[in-house]
């Protein structure tokens, strides 16, 4: 090893991402770099393009323009009539396996038990040894606090438990980056805390996370950086506490005022 580098390497780097749906330009040139271990909170009004941005990162949505690099590997593109597409499906699958995603609606596989949900991709996508995956899945489920639910089906769990199972499922792939798209928005208020606690624990162990959230207090306390998205552009990007205390843009000020009213 050489001398340790002063800044950690880039986990994800996005340059000038653009995406339109028909006439609507949803992302208008978004650039963002997250270094390893960094926790980035992404705030923005409904329709500002937060979900679209996250989904572009693992190519669930194909951006019209812009570059995406995950763990040092840049997505390769190929021109096709009507736009560009990823050049190599294998690369896309590989990249997705390195990026864990947690959805607002959990999206667990209802025909599999919690444990089966967690080992599904490690066994079938990564081709790892089943016994090893089961042992690791059990440890992950214990970590998110639902070890006793491992043989239950998703429908038998509360929303908070399902979301924690979904987090365990994403972690089981050993992702380099975790993406969260409003992970607590579909939960009863009294269930929000248990999911945020798990996410905080992940942040503290140094995971790279991009979190779309409306939980301003969580963003302030846990994130290293706050990004405010407005109409497909990054309007602010800075340390959470300062940015929230003294927003530079009117947009963010209005947004935060509305959030506080919503919370109160």
């Amino acid at each position: 090893m050489l001398a340790p580098s002063p800044v950690p390497p880039e986990a994800v780097a996005v340059r000038d991402l653009r995406k339109r749906f028909g006439a609507a330009e949803v992302l208008r040139g978004v650039s963002l770099t997250a270094r390893e271990g960094e926790v980035v909170a992404i705030l923005g009004a409904s329709g500002s393009g937060k979900s679209t941005f996250l989904r572009c990162l693992n190519l669930l949505e194909v951006p019209d323009a812009g570059e995406i690099t995950v763990a040092g590997e840049a997505v390769r593109w190929r021109q096709r009539r009507g736009g560009r597409v990823p050049a190599d499906r294998g690369q896309v699958d590989r990249l997705r396996a390195r990026v864990g995603m947690v959805f607002q609606g959990f999206n667990l596989w209802s025909h599999r038990t919690v444990l089966e949900n967690v080992i599904e991709a490690p066994v079938h996508v990564q081709g790892r040894e089943r016994a090893e995956c089961v042992a690791e899945a059990e440890a992950l489920l214990a970590k998110v606090g639902i070890a006793d639910k491992r043989h239950d089906y998703p429908a038998q769990l509360s929303g908070g438990q399902q979301q924690r199972a979904a987090i365990a499922r994403a972690l089981a792939m050993h992702p380099r980056v975790m993406l969260f798209d409003e992970p607590t928005s579909a939960l009863d208020p009294e269930r929000v805390g248990e999911v945020l606690a798990v996410m905080q624990a992940l942040a503290e162990e140094g995971r790279t996370m991009l979190i779309v959230t409306h939980e301003v207090a969580f963003a302030r306390d846990v994130a290293h950086r706050l990004v405010f998205l407005h109409e497909g552009r990054i309007e602010e990007d800075g340390p959470p506490a300062e940015t929230i205390a003294a927003p530079r843009s009117d947009r963010l000020r209005q947004f935060l005022a509305r959030c506080r009213i919503g919370v109160a």
């Binding site: 699958d93 997705r96 038990t113």
Partner: protein
């Protein structure tokens, strides 16, 4: 007035038609499922030509009576005997058994294609998204997520379809085949005792369908274990 001895004799005579009825059912259901899988894949492929072909197939075979299809294949194609002989296909279309199997297969394939398509369309989008998000290839996604979820959705309707194939095999008797119904008609022509004979034939069909209902239920417990388990109240 019911003649027990005659009933017993009818049952024994009808039992001889059982292999034919079961063979036609099993053959049509198995081949129809393959055909339906191809047609459903065509419908869902997003490729206009394949979609159009599958649509046409389903439209034609769902939109016309099975009896008409059967007569067209057996009697209608019989008019092209020289051509079929030239093509080396006459051995097939000469036999009422193959014609019945073909008509039943084409017919159930059309219905089953729609059942499969409905099941696939009912798979929650989030489940597919989650699969793609963890790097599943298309084949893996289909095998591990989409088809199992679609199968549970489609199973009740599919059970109905298998049962209607059992009943539809009785039409084979119209092209000289001696299945359960064919034998029943022969017995009635000899004895003029329609009630007893048809009661016996009906009992055979009921017994077959009872077994099918059992099999469907078994498939349900295998494919949908989470629905079987009682949820906490």
């Amino acid at each position: 007035m019911i003649d027990i001895a005659f009933l017993a004799e009818s049952l024994r005579a009808l039992a001889a038609g059982l292999p034919l009825t079961l063979g036609l059912t099993g053959g049509a259901v198995a081949l129809g499922l393959v055909l339906a899988g191809l047609a459903a894949a065509g419908r869902l492929s997003g490729i206009a030509v394949l979609d159009g072909l599958a649509r046409l197939y389903v439209f034609v075979f769902r939109g016309t009576p099975l009896l008409v299809q059967l007569f067209l294949i057996y009697y209608g194609l019989g008019q092209f005997r020289p051509d079929l002989q030239a093509l080396g296909l006459w051995w097939f279309f000469r036999e009422p058994y193959w014609c019945a199997l073909l008509a039943l297969t084409l017919n159930t394939g059309a219905y089953t294609a729609e059942i499969i398509r409905g099941g696939v369309l009912a798979v929650p989008h989030g489940a597919v998204l989650a699969g793609r998000a963890c790097g599943m290839s298309r084949g893996l996604l289909l095998r591990r997520i989409v088809l199992p979820l679609a199968a549970r959705q489609a199973l009740p309707a599919y059970g109905n379809e298998v049962i209607s194939v059992v009943k539809a095999t009785s039409l084979a008797s119209t092209i000289t085949l001696l299945d359960l119904t064919g034998i029943a008609q022969k017995l009635i022509a000899q004895s003029f005792r329609a009630l007893e004979v048809f009661v016996c034939a009906g009992a055979f069909y009921l017994a077959i369908n009872l077994a099918i209902i059992g099999l469907v239920r078994l498939a349900e417990t295998i494919l949908a274990p989470d629905l079987r388990r009682p949820r906490p109240v």
